[in-house]
């Protein structure tokens, strides 16, 4: 097999890669110039043909999403989702801090294809450095006439504004993001209407992830056939994968969606294997919301389809964290439960109460006061919230269900043994403190 040439990260190690001149000297903004000579429909068709599936977690095809915009609209808005808050995901960060102009170019093309007048980049507040890097890149693009009025001398004008979040995971959900942009609490909206019909300021709106948009210039430049030539038919194009935890080379790596979890951990050009003395016990391969794998399931392919065979929700953000054998699974369980318990926005009863109770129960177990039946209560709670049973507004509780359910199911033996080995005196003290 030919060696894979990085596409999205091709500028990462180039000196001064964040400056416009370096980006341009490496062929940058050629795709945007080309796109502005195409019709919007031609661009949408090309992106559809490339089968570019959204990189933000849900895997929805970007071209299809753009096609949902009503034909008779007068004003359209584009939101770039740079809220990246799913643990342990950081590929959007890498894209923004090493190659901000790639994102701006993708944004220009997507905005033109959807005929948007304004693009808002919603960036999480903890990205301080990245904010200044990106803002400077936007300023540079404005100064050159690549953003603003009549860009590249064409008839098309686009404003691009950065908008900083304020610390809330749920603002990454597309309608939560829209509410937050409007100056409100980041409470996701009931759908329909979908944002494509009624989104930001009640205008037709497209929300896309940073990595999704970074793929767009390359599709325009090299064509849909080149894009579909990378990876399997259902998971086309280059993809960024994050790996963290006790491996030798934690980081963000690019590959076709043919690699396995084992590759990501062990390949010399990726994770580089485990740190000395550490052994894999479990892996959360797609961000935390997709569920967990045991050490026997590392042959899972990191594509949009394979994870389902391992009882996972999907590919998610393709960010893996390795849990080593010295780690107590009760700690992992509690860490997961706490995340959703604190990040649920509280609008829907099942999600608010379900995640809160899972957090309480998991805390009790982790502190040494669990009961065997708690495991079944966790499973039952997990199954009774979320969009899939139709009981909530957004997908957050579905994301809470999968890690809890898969940890309890796949590591039940260890959890039960730990609960049986609890010291009764300690359990009593813990309960008295918690109550």
């Amino acid at each position: 097999m030919a060696v894979f040439e990085p596409v999205l990260l091709r500028n990462r190690d180039v000196e001064d890669s964040t400056s416009l001149s370096v980006y341009e000297s490496r062929g940058g903004y050629g795709a945007a110039r080309k796109a502005l000579k195409m019709t919007p429909v031609e661009i949408i068709e090309e992106v559809k043909k490339a089968n570019l599936r959204g990189r933000g977690g849900a895997g929805f095809p970007a071209g299809v999403k753009w096609g949902f915009l009503p034909k008779d609209r007068t004003r359209t808005l584009l939101c770039v989702n740079a809220d990246e808050s799913e643990p342990p995901t950081f590929c959007n960060r890498v894209l923004m801090e090493t190659d901000p102009h790639q994102l701006i170019e993708g944004t220009i093309i997507a905005a033109y294809a959807t005929q948007s007048q304004i693009a808002y980049i919603y960036i999480r507040v903890e990205f301080h450095e990245q904010f200044h890097i990106l803002q400077r890149a936007v300023d540079e693009a404005y100064a050159k006439g690549y953003l603003g009025k009549r860009i590249f001398g064409s008839d098309y004008s686009l404003e691009c504004y950065l908008h900083r979040g304020a610390g809330a995971y749920v603002c990454g959900e597309e309608t939560g993001l829209i509410e937050s942009l409007e100056g409100k609490r980041g409470w996701p909206r009931i759908k329909p209407p979908f944002p494509a019909v009624e989104g930001l300021f009640r205008r037709p709106t497209v929300v896309n992830n940073v990595e999704t948009l970074c793929c767009v210039p390359h599709i325009i430049e090299r064509g849909a056939d080149w894009f579909t030539g990378i990876g399997p038919p259902h998971s086309t194009g280059p993809k960024l994968f994050c790996i963290s935890g006790p491996v030798k080379r934690p980081g963000c790596y690019e590959a076709p969606m043919t690699i396995t979890v084992r590759d990501l951990i062990e390949r010399e050009d990726m994770g580089g294997g485990m740190l000395p003395g550490k052994k894999v016990k479990a892996v959360l391969p797609g961000g935390v919301s997709m569920g967990i794998l045991t050490a026997d399931e590392l042959d899972m392919k990191m594509d949009f389809e394979d994870p389902r065979k391992y009882a996972l929700l999907g590919l998610g953000t393709a960010a893996a964290v390795v849990i080593d054998d010295a780690t107590d699974m009760r700690m992992v369980l509690r860490n997961m439960a706490r995340f959703y318990g604190t990040e649920s926005c509280g609008q829907c009863t099942q999600c608010r109460e379900g995640t809160a109770w899972m957090h309480k129960i998991a805390t009790r177990i982790a502190m040494g006061a669990g009961r065997i039946e708690d495991l079944d209560i966790l499973l039952e709670t997990a199954r009774n919230m979320g969009m899939m049973p139709g009981l909530s507004i957004c997908g957050l509780p579905d994301g809470a269900t999968y890690p809890i359910e898969t940890i309890v199911n796949k590591f039940r033996g260890e959890l039960e043994a730990a609960i049986r080995a609890q010291a009764p005196e300690r359990a009593k003290t813990v309960l008295s403190v918690l109550n």
Partner: protein, 216 residues
Amino acid sequence: MAWVTINRNEPVVDPKAPPVLGEAVRVKIRSFFDRYETKRAVLLPALHIVQDALGHVPWQAMVEIADLLEIHPSDVIDTISFYTHFWTHPKGEKVITVCRSISCEVMGGAAVLEELKKQLKIDEHETTKDGKYSLVTEECLAGCDNAPCLLINEKLHKHVKPQDVAKLLAEANNDRIAVPRSALFDASTLSFAAASKTNGALLGTTSDVREMREAD
């Protein structure tokens, strides 16, 4: 434990007090108006600007922001209470945000948090007596390749070990980032230092939790 009640009957905002938002801050907030279709959408940028300038968002600033954006003060309170990044009470000069999500926990983040608590002699959500540091935890900071990591104000500190904590706290510029800043949101143009001094008397009270403890 009986419920502790705090007397909140005294007016939080004195209508006769001089405005807390200076002209520079107002100009900056207004410069965001033409970016959005509604003035309310300027609320998050406005809160960022005010917090950068004053160190926190006091009640009176909320009333003044509401005035500027032509919305009701309760709308500002509604929004601000949702986000962990905004605070309505003064915090320390430097806010330490420790990541507690899974990569950092697996890589030993909890020990770093404990060491910080020990050296600063404060608990989570508290501020040191001298008003220098506040300590909070957050979920994943998207720096997991550098786990365990933490933010001091704007600066991300990577691969922090408990034995590094003393050195980290002693560093003068441990909260400043090196990249050139864009003028947007740049606190230095808003005379941060002068503004935070006027609130100096209040430092030390970081949250209702602390307030309640003291009432106890």
